[in-house]
Structures are given as C-alpha cells and as structure tokens.
C-alpha cells in the first residue's frame, strides 16, 4: 500500500511543479537587476552578426570606457520570438514590472515606440541626438533612437550583366527581358525583398503619400498600392522558376552566389560581410538604382519605459552614438554611421564615399509594412 501512495503523492507534486514551472519560463532572465544602476542588459533580436557586434565589439569597448558598468546580452536569433517579446514587454509595462532588459535592439522597436512602451529620449538626456538627422529620429517614433544604418542595394553577376540597370524602370524591363534570372525574397521573410516591393509600390505614389506611409499607420492610403502590386504580379513569369520567392535574405544571396540567378536586391551590410568572408564570389558586384532608390534605414534602439535603470541605459545609448562607437560599427559590420561623417576618422569616411545617411529612403511604418506583407502574399505569388 505504501509505494502506490508515495508514487501518487510524487505524481501530484510533479504535476503542480510542472504547472508552476511553465508559468515562468523566463524567471531567470527577469531578475538581472540586483539593485544597482550599473548592470545593464541589452535585448537583441537579430542575426548573429549583430550579436557579435554587441558581444565582441561594442560591449567590451563600453565597459572599458566606463569602469564599473557590466552589460549583458539577451539574444533572440532572427527575432523568432518577436511577437512574444512584444507581448511580454507590453505586459511588463502595463503591470509596471521590470522587463529584465534596459535597451532593445530589434526590428520591433518602432512598433513598441508607437505603442508608447519606450522612454522618450531627447537631446537633453542624450546630447549626441543633436547630430542625428531629424528624419531618421522622426521615423523612430516616440523613443526609438537610430544607431546604425544600412540600405538595400542591387547585387548583380558581372559575368552575365555587363551594365546593370540604373533606374527602377530599367530594372523592371531587364527582369522581363531576362526571364528566370531575378528574384527577391518574400517581403515577410526578409528586408531586402520588402525593400524591392516597397520601391515598386512607391513608384506609383506621390511623395507626400510615401512620407505618410513611412511615418504613421495609414490604412487609407493602402489602396494606392494596387498599381504596384499589378506590376509585381506581372513579373511572376519572369522571376526565377516562374515566380519563386525564397524565404529570407540569405537564400537569395545563395541563389546569386551559386549562379542560379543574375540579379537580386540584397542588404548592403550582408553583402559587404559576405564578400569579406568569401560566401559571395568576386564576380558579384553591387549598385544602387534611382527613381526611386531602394529603401534603407536605420536600426533603432529603445529604452523600455518599464526599465528601472534608465540613467544607465541612457549612458549606454549616448556612448553608442559617440564617434568612437560609430566607427566600431562601421568597421565590424559595415553599418552606416548615423552621425555626420566628418566627425569620424578618415578610414571610416572612405568606407562610405557615396552614402547619404540622412537621405536613405525609409521603408514603411511597421503597421503598414505588416499590411503590405499580407497584401503581397494575396496579390502577387501564383497570380
């Protein structure tokens, strides 16, 4: 009689334990505070190159410049859990609990900025903001601070494409005359594809409408996308394998590197890094088109308003915008600096001879981009 009762008791205890354990999956990460303002946590939702940027470059340099500070990283690869992270951050803010991190580097920063989950930051707290172009700051919304830029460029195979297209119209006609040699990733799976789609949609929009779509949720303007989506659907027969749009930026780079396609929109920083480490062969070059150009933009940082370590977070943020940190970002991942180039060393200025950081054409505001992804899936592939 004894052992079944023992087993039953253990089983009941285990059930309660499992249930409770499941309720707090991130219990450990939520308790990084320990009371001091000098232990900070940065939440990263990005690819491994950004993880390396923070862990191997920025954080050691910051800790070196600011003795006594310790910075940890909470990393979510490819932003696989972005929706859950946003939900947890929302819940933490509503309940006024410590979210467990003090600075966020993620694609959703502008989204949570719009929801009012970030601490508004001005040049009073972070003096370096005065150097950052106003348009970039404005696109970040309430509390999103740009800290590095990148843009989408047109990569092409120099052996099959001697003279690359110079404008979007040239590019569209090149795609039609060279069936099967171009593709872009589905916009929901990668920013390079989203940029191509945005650029084609923008072709038939007024400059005012483009600005509105880039800065605020504007569902009333989305009917203006129809002409652009018709153009994109018209390309299906000329795209790789009669309309295959791979998943993610890197699949497109693979197709380009293996010679299955001759041209594609790619991220500038991924391209430069790929060339540097040999993943992209020497016969692939890149260029920018005009009228309109591909979009680009800044990556944003934000301080969650629920974080109790605001002063420390602002210190880190100010440091990231300093010329020294901006030069580190340019060196390690070819990220465009967001402060004027003349404040940076000559070697960094030489990296970006033509980059006009202030005039990177911004992509859509996150809510509009989500709608664009959905509309693209309904109106373009297989139509």
């Amino acid at each position: 009689m004894k052992s079944p009762r023992l087993i039953a008791t253990l089983a009941a205890v285990a059930a309660v334990g499992v249930t409770l354990a499941g309720c707090s999956p991130s219990g450990a990460s939520a308790s990084s505070s320990d009371g001091s303002d000098k232990t900070l946590t940065v939440f990263l939702s990005a690819d491994t190159n950004i993880q390396d940027l923070w862990q191997k470059t920025l954080i050691p340099a910051f800790e070196n410049d600011n003795p006594g500070y310790t910075v940890k990283v909470d990393f979510d690869l490819h932003g696989a859990h972005d929706q859950q992270t946003v939900a947890k951050l929302t819940a933490a803010t509503v309940q006024q609990k410590d979210p467990g991190y003090d600075l966020v580097d993620a694609g959703f920063v502008t989204q949570v900025a719009a929801s009012g989950l970030l601490t508004p930051v001005t040049a009073d707290q972070v003096p370096a903001l005065a150097d950052v172009p106003a348009t970039l700051l404005q696109a970040g919304g309430n509390g999103g601070v740009p800290y590095r830029g990148s843009s989408v460029v047109l990569a092409y195979d120099t052996t099959t494409v001697p003279t690359p297209p110079k404008t979007l119209a040239d590019l569209l006609s090149w795609i039609k005359t060279h069936p099967g040699r171009f593709t872009y990733c589905a916009p929901s799976t990668g920013g390079s594809g989203a940029s191509f789609v945005t650029t084609v949609l923008d072709q038939s929009l007024s400059a005012d409408d483009r600005t509105t779509l880039a800065t605020e949720a504007a569902p009333q303007l989305e009917s203006g996308w129809d002409a652009g989506f018709a153009t994109l659907a018209g390309l299906n027969a000329s795209v790789f394998q009669n309309g295959v749009y791979p998943n993610g930026n890197s699949q497109v780079l693979d197709l380009l590197a293996s010679g299955q396609i001759s041209m594609a929109p790619v991220w500038s920083d991924q391209f430069v890094t790929g060339v540097k480490n040999g993943q992209i062969p020497a016969n692939i070059a890149s260029t920018q088109i005009s009228d309109p150009s591909f979009t680009g933009g800044a990556s944003y940082l934000g301080i969650p308003s629920a974080s109790p370590r605001r002063a420390g977070a602002e210190k880190l943020l100010s440091w990231v915008l300093s010329p020294a940190a901006q030069a580190l970002i340019a060196d390690s991942i070819s990220g465009y600096p967001v402060i004027p180039l003349d404040k940076l060393p000559a070697s960094v200025q030489a990296l970006f001879p033509n980059a006009d950081i202030a005039n990177l054409r911004p992509g859509y505001f996150s809510a509009n981009a989500a709608d664009m992804n959905k509309a693209w899936a309904q109106k373009v592939p297989g139509k």
């Binding site: 009689m1 079944p4 009762r5 087993i7 039953a8 008791t9 089983a11 009941a12 285990a14 059930a15 309660v16 499992v18 249930t19 499941g22 972005d82 929706q83 946003v86 939900a87 929302t90 819940a91 509503v94 929801s115 589905a186 929901s188 799976t189 394998q241 309309g243 295959v244 749009y245 791979p246 998943n247 293996s258 010679g259 299955q260 809510a367 989500a370 709608d371 992804n373 959905k374 899936a377 309904q378 373009v380 592939p381 297989g382 139509k383």
Partner: protein
C-alpha cells in the same frame, strides 16, 4: 496473533472497504498529472483562443489584443464573427486550404502504399532484403526535419542532384524545389518511419497458422492479403493513417522550406498571419480550421480504437 475469528473477520472487512477507497484516491492522484497538464497547457489556451477569435478581448486576451492589428472586438456579450469573415472572405485562404488537404491526402496515400508494401513484403516473403528495406525506412526518424527539408530542397533544385544527373545525359529534369511536389515528398519522407513501424508490427502479429491454412485451402496471395492480413491489421493501419494525416495537415517546416509562396499550407499561412502580418485573431481562425479538419481525422482513430476495444470485450 491472538485475535479471535470474529475480530479477524471484522478487520478483514474494514481492510477490504478501506483499500477500495484508498485505491480510488491513489488512482485519481496518479491520473492527475496528465489531466492537470492538459487542462492548464491545452485546455485554457484553447478556450481563451476561441474567446479571442469571436472578439472577447478582455482579461487574458488583453495583451495580444493591444499588440495585434485588425482585431475585431465583440459588442458587449454578443460575439462577433468578423475575423472569420476576414479569413473566409479571402481567396487565398481557400487556395491554401485546398493545397493543405490535397498535400495531406497525397502524402498519406503514398505513406500508406510504401509502409503497406514494406510490411507485406516482410510478412509474406521475408528475407534479408525485406529486413534491410524496413530498417532503411526508419532512418528519417533520426534526421531532424529542418535538415531533411533543406536536403530535399537542394536535391530537387535547379542546380541539385536530379537536375545535374539528367543534364549529364542531355535531358531536362523537372525542378521540384518550391512546388507542392516537394512538400509531398518531404511530408511522406518524414511520416514514413512511424507508419512502417506501426503497420509492420501489426502484420507481424498475425499468426502464421492463418496464412498457411488459407494457402492450404487454395487461396492466392491477393486473397490472403485482402481477406486476412488487411482486416486483421486494420487498427494499426488506421492509426498509422490518422497519425500521418494529422502530422501532415499541421506541418510547418516542410512546406515553409520546400513549398511555393502561394498557395501555401495552412501551417505556414497561419504562422505568417501571426508573425508577419501581426493579425493574431485571423491566425487563430485558421488554427481552428486546421483543428476541425484534424478532429475529423481524429474521429477515425477513436472509431478504430473503439472497434478494437469492443472486439476484445473491453466495452
């Protein structure tokens, strides 16, 4: 030791009554873990999801409702079906559903044919080749689905093995990467091991005597398969079919990697809707469609279990 017969009898009676109650409590406690875990981790989310899909955005659903786009809210206590309208009103949903059901049916048939073939070969013929075949069919069990999907994609891509082989002898091979064919190949590949294990063991359990008696009475192989082997292993076959179909209908990795952008399977479509389009309510509606379709298949499984239980006199 020195108890009188009457005392002993009384004590026995008490012990008999007491253990019965105790066993009941112990039994309940033993059954508690799965019940609690299912109630908390499956039951509660299903109920809140259902409430969210018809517009009840308060309470546990308030965070997701605050974050999501195009969320429809119920008017007081009157549920709204607007999210269902959004999903069912879009053409691409019906194309996705069609593809999902088509891929599920095709993969299940292929798996059934392959697993049944291997099982019958092993049962009727035996020998080394049959044993090797049944062992090879289990291999996919030990290869992660992501790796397998990627391998299938590159194998059938325009610069893959198949194309290269055909090109070497001057033919053009069909390119199956990013098509429904690749999804079917991938789904069949990942589902095969379980079906083979299930069906082979079901067929192996049938006594030799039955088959030999039928042979002696002049029955051919086809007749033995049709009237003895298939009916006697009906339950494992039904289980293999239902598990394969339910696994394929809700699959994500294989269609995400190997399939076309549109139409796509509902597993991918609802993940897109949730993460890329930030429409949690519409995503839950699609999840319920998959759930309804899977319950239809699940009913088959329950029926098979019930049938075998009745045959063995347990019901």
């Amino acid at each position: 030791m020195s108890a009188s017969p009457a005392q002993r009898e009384a004590r026995t009676a008490v012990r008999r009554a007491h253990p019965a109650r105790r066993t009941a409590v112990a039994g309940f406690l033993l059954a508690l873990p799965p019940v609690v875990v299912i109630a908390v981790f499956v039951g509660v989310p299903v109920v809140t999801a259902l409430a969210f899909s018809v517009g009840f955005t308060g309470g546990l659903n308030s965070v997701i409702a605050a974050v999501g786009q195009n969320v429809h809210r119920a008017d007081g206590l009157v549920p709204t079906l607007a999210a269902y309208g959004d999903v069912f009103g879009a053409d691409d949903f019906w194309q996705n559903l069609g593809l999902t059901l088509g891929v599920t049916a095709a993969s299940t048939l292929i798996v059934l044919a392959l697993a049944g073939g291997i099982g019958l070969f092993l049962r009727l013929h035996g020998g080394r080749l049959a044993r090797v075949l049944s062992a090879v069919a289990i291999v996919p069990l030990f290869i992660p689905v992501v790796i397998a999907s990627w391998a299938i994609l590159t194998f059938y891509s325009a610069d893959g093995f198949v194309s290269s082989l055909f090109a070497a002898v001057g033919f053009d091979a069909p390119v199956w990467a990013f098509t429904p064919v690749a999804i079917i190949i991938g789904s069949a590949w990942t589902s095969l091991p379980f079906a083979v294990l299930m069906i082979t063991s079901g067929l192996q359990a049938i006594p030799d005597a039955l088959i030999e008696a039928a042979r002696d009475a002049g029955a051919g192989t086809v007749r033995i398969v049709r009237t003895i082997l298939v009916p006697m292993s009906a339950v494992p076959i039904v289980i293999a079919v239902t598990f394969t179909a339910i696994g394929v209908i809700g699959s994500y990795t294989v269609p995400y990697f190997t399939g076309p952008n549109a139409p796509t399977m509902l597993g991918v479509a609802l993940a897109n809707s949730f993460t890329s389009y930030n429409e949690p309510q519409q995503s839950i509606v699609m999840a319920f469609v998959v759930f309804v379709a899977a319950s239809g298949i699940g009913a088959l499984y329950v029926w098979a279990n019930f049938r075998s239980a009745r045959r063995e006199g347990r019901v």
